[in-house]
């Protein structure tokens, strides 16, 4: 199955939801008026894009309609698409693992799919013939280490672990030493899920990061925030607070195979300028895709 097919398959629900409704709206309105804009705004809001971003998008849309003296409601769809692409493509970037060694730290709140995503990421990188090692630094949640270990075995990569309850920074330290000794290309660090409101846990992330900086100075770093596509406006708060303790380089948007629209990505990109790099579209090892803004929006509107 090619990339496009898989992406389409994963996005089917999303696309159906958003475009059906937009088409519905466009058909039911003969001209462009406030009511039409209101309906469009409603569609954006129900995709979890959030009020502020939705309003902003609609305002921009209104301006463009006025500037271009548009009178045909169907031209709105094209404009809206362009608007969304523009938001998402600004400073587009993808997972950068070109330089070895590279350390990927995966962070996020509880239950968003960090460990599963790491399994998938490891698989993705391994297929590029790179040497990968995992660090089981979620030493808090019951059986999190076992879960990651199963993924490591599935993918066929090494894992560095200690016992449950040990210091995550110590696990990462061990992993970095192992990475150096074994000449690893990419080290992926799992971390415990933590609500961004837990101050001391957020501090712990800083410590982990410091260990990496100290032991592997100059290594390429990726810090990925995993977001659940089902999440509403709180995702913005998550992204914001995690940014304060970690230099987030990108987002992994998971669970896009459900009915959730994942619109919050647009709000986050618009407000915080954090790009989405990968999307999770299923439970299988291959169900992780590179996020491409254009394709994402194209697929939404197909």
């Amino acid at each position: 199955m090619g990339f496009f097919d898989r992406l389409k398959e994963g996005l089917q629900k999303t696309r159906k939801g958003i475009t059906e409704k937009i088409d519905q709206v466009l058909v039911s309105f003969g001209k462009i008026d406030d009511e039409l804009f209101e309906e469009l705004e409603e569609i954006l809001i129900t995709s979890d894009i959030g009020i502020e971003t939705s309003m902003k998008i609609i305002e921009d849309l209104k301006k463009k309609v006025k500037e271009n003296k548009l009178t045909d409601p169907s031209s709105i769809k094209k404009l809206l698409k362009e608007e969304l692409i523009q938001i998402l493509t600004e400073n587009e970037s993808e997972l950068n693992i070109a330089n070895s060694p590279c350390v990927i730290t995966v962070i996020g709140v509880n239950g968003v799919g960090k460990t599963t995503s790491i399994g998938k990421i490891a698989n993705l990188i391994k297929q590029k013939n790179k040497k990968v090692i995992m660090a089981a630094a979620d030493t808090f949640r019951a059986a999190a280490i076992d879960q990651l270990e199963i993924w490591a075995n599935r993918v066929g990569v090494d894992i560095i672990k200690q016992s449950e309850g040990s210091d995550p920074a110590a696990v990462v330290f061990d992993a970095v030493q192992a990475a150096k000794a074994r000449k690893i290309d990419v080290l992926i660090c799992d971390t415990a899920g933590r609500l961004h409101t837990k101050k001391n846990l957020m501090e712990e992330l800083k410590k982990v990061s410091k260990v990496i900086d100290r032991e592997l100075p100059g290594a390429a770093r990726e810090t990925l925030l995993v977001l659940d596509a089902t999440t509403g406006q709180n995702a913005i708060s998550q992204a914001k607070t995690f940014s304060e303790v970690a230099d987030i380089t990108g987002i992994v948007l998971t669970k896009l195979d459900g009915t959730a629209k994942g619109g919050i990505v647009i709000a986050i990109k618009s407000e915080l300028k954090i790009p989405v790099k990968l999307i999770g579209v299923g439970e299988k090892m291959e169900d992780l895709q590179r996020f491409d803004a254009k394709e994402f929006v194209e697929a939404l509107f197909e």
């Binding site: 509880n110 059986a143 076992d146 270990e149 837990k198 406006q233 709180n234 009915t259």
Partner: protein
């Protein structure tokens, strides 16, 4: 950032709608727009918001405005009450089967917190005298069974597991037999997380349901869920017929609008709230707290509610009488202070009082610690001293300071302020002899 913007707008709207003894249609329309935004920002589903707003608008128009409130506040009060009504319900407690074992089945999306909640529930209900058995039916996610085993181990609650090679339906059946044999009167089945649109896995839940006939099916919902909460809840309820909801991860800063959405589309009560990572972090669901959280108009709400509750009429009348007759004692003062404290952080309360400019107070930091000192000082006095502060001489002051852990200077200051306050009251009551509005504007000694 987003919310602050909304909050300021709300304040402006409320201010605009002044006077008038009754809530007019225009009042409702203006304020409802703000409420709509607040609910949407809290992730309440769009359709649910629409339904809710239209229902409330009908109810609100023409209502009498309470003396102490503005029409805008009155509408918010109605909205808040209705939110509590909607989310609260009498049958929000879990029930037990008359013929044990009682079986609970935990269902939900991936990552909503089923396993942790199962453990918390077992722990909570064991405290109520149950003998629970946890059942590991998540045969899909790597190490899910191990996770439940670890949780069970931490709680010292037995976990039934026969590996991940068997069908969950068979595991559930075997667990029920095991529970009967081992005299467990409560069985909590932890199922695998699944998407509500995954028909195969949803059918599996249905099969577990028909083979073990759970007494309650509890849907575990992440409180951070967005607009999609309605689809999830509706699907699970339609397919399985859920009996209740457990809301998780409420220890974060989400406004939790999903609670209202889920309640609205399923009509099923929210029974518990997960409040943290420790296995004791679970509480019964409180509709009133949730309503305030979703509405997010904390400041306005506290004014409306607490002002009514804390300062109950009778006490106010009594107090006024005392002030008029110059019998206001340090005990009354303490009492009043405690009532004030009940209303929330003092600088917020002050900002909410009619006639006080909220903006001017923005940088005023009322020292709550100092209030605590005042309280301690008064409490260190004898009954006699409180009724007649005039008798407090040097050695008494020394004793009071030592007893309250403060300094003599602080005691002196309190007594001086109190005297001044009494003088002010006297002047005031003479000024407004027959008016009830003279209350509450005197200077407090903190």
């Amino acid at each position: 950032m987003v919310f602050e913007g909304l909050s300021n707008k709300l304040q402006d709207t409320i201010k605009k709608l002044r006077g008038a003894g009754r809530v007019s249609e225009k009042d409702v329309k203006e304020i409802m727009r703000e409420i709509k935004l607040a609910l949407l920002e809290a992730d309440v589903n769009f359709k649910v918001v629409k339904d809710f707003i239209s229902k409330i608008s009908e109810r609100a128009v023409g209502q009498d405005v309470l003396e102490s409130l503005t029409p805008g506040q009155q509408v918010i009060k109605i909205v808040h009450e209705e939110l509590i009504n909607l989310m609260g319900s009498e049958n929000s407690k879990v029930t037990f089967s008359p013929r044990p074992p009682t079986v609970y089945m935990m269902v939900g999306l991936q990552g909503s917190g089923k396993t942790t909640t199962s453990g918390k529930l077992a722990s909570l209900l064991r405290k109520q005298g149950k003998n629970p058995l946890l059942v590991a039916c998540d045969v899909y996610r790597p190490a899910a069974i191990k996770q439940l085993q670890v949780v069970g181990g931490q709680l010292n609650v037995p976990v039934f597991s026969i590996g991940d090679k068997l069908n969950p339906v068979d595991i559930a059946k075997a667990a029920l037999e095991h529970a009967k044999a081992k005299q467990h009167d409560l069985v909590i089945i932890d199922t695998a997380g699944r998407l509500h649109i995954d028909e195969e896995l949803m059918d599996e839940l249905l099969n577990i349901k028909s083979s073990v006939k759970p007494h309650e099916i509890l849907l575990v919902v992440d409180s951070m869920t967005g607009q999609d909460a309605v689809n999830v809840a509706e699907s699970f309820n339609e397919k399985l017929g859920i009996d209740g909801v457990v809301l998780t991860k409420l220890d974060g800063d989400t406004r939790g609008g999903a609670a209202l959405s889920v309640r609205h589309v399923t009509g099923k009560p929210i029974k518990f709230a997960g409040m943290g990572e420790k296995l004791s972090d679970i509480e019964p669901f409180h509709a009133d707290r949730m309503a305030s959280r979703i509405l997010g108009m904390g400041d306005v709400l506290s004014l409306i509610e607490k002002a009514q509750e804390a300062f109950d009429e009778k006490k106010a009348l009594e107090l006024e009488k005392k002030m008029r007759t110059q019998q206001f004692t340090l005990d009354d003062f303490l009492d009043q202070m405690q009532q004030l404290k009940k209303m929330g952080p003092l600088n917020e309360v002050l900002g909410m009082l009619p006639g006080v400019n909220a903006k001017a107070l923005q940088n005023v930091d009322v020292d709550e610690k100092k209030m605590g000192h005042v309280e301690a000082i008064i409490k260190s006095m004898t009954k006699h001293e409180r009724n007649d502060p005039g008798i407090i001489n040097g050695s008494r002051r020394k004793r009071i300071a030592a007893g309250s852990g403060t300094t003599i200077q602080e005691v002196n200051k309190l007594l001086k302020d109190f005297e001044e306050m009494k003088k002010m009251m006297k002047a005031m009551t003479e000024m407004t002899k027959h008016s009830k509005k003279g209350l509450g504007k005197f200077k407090m000694p903190f």
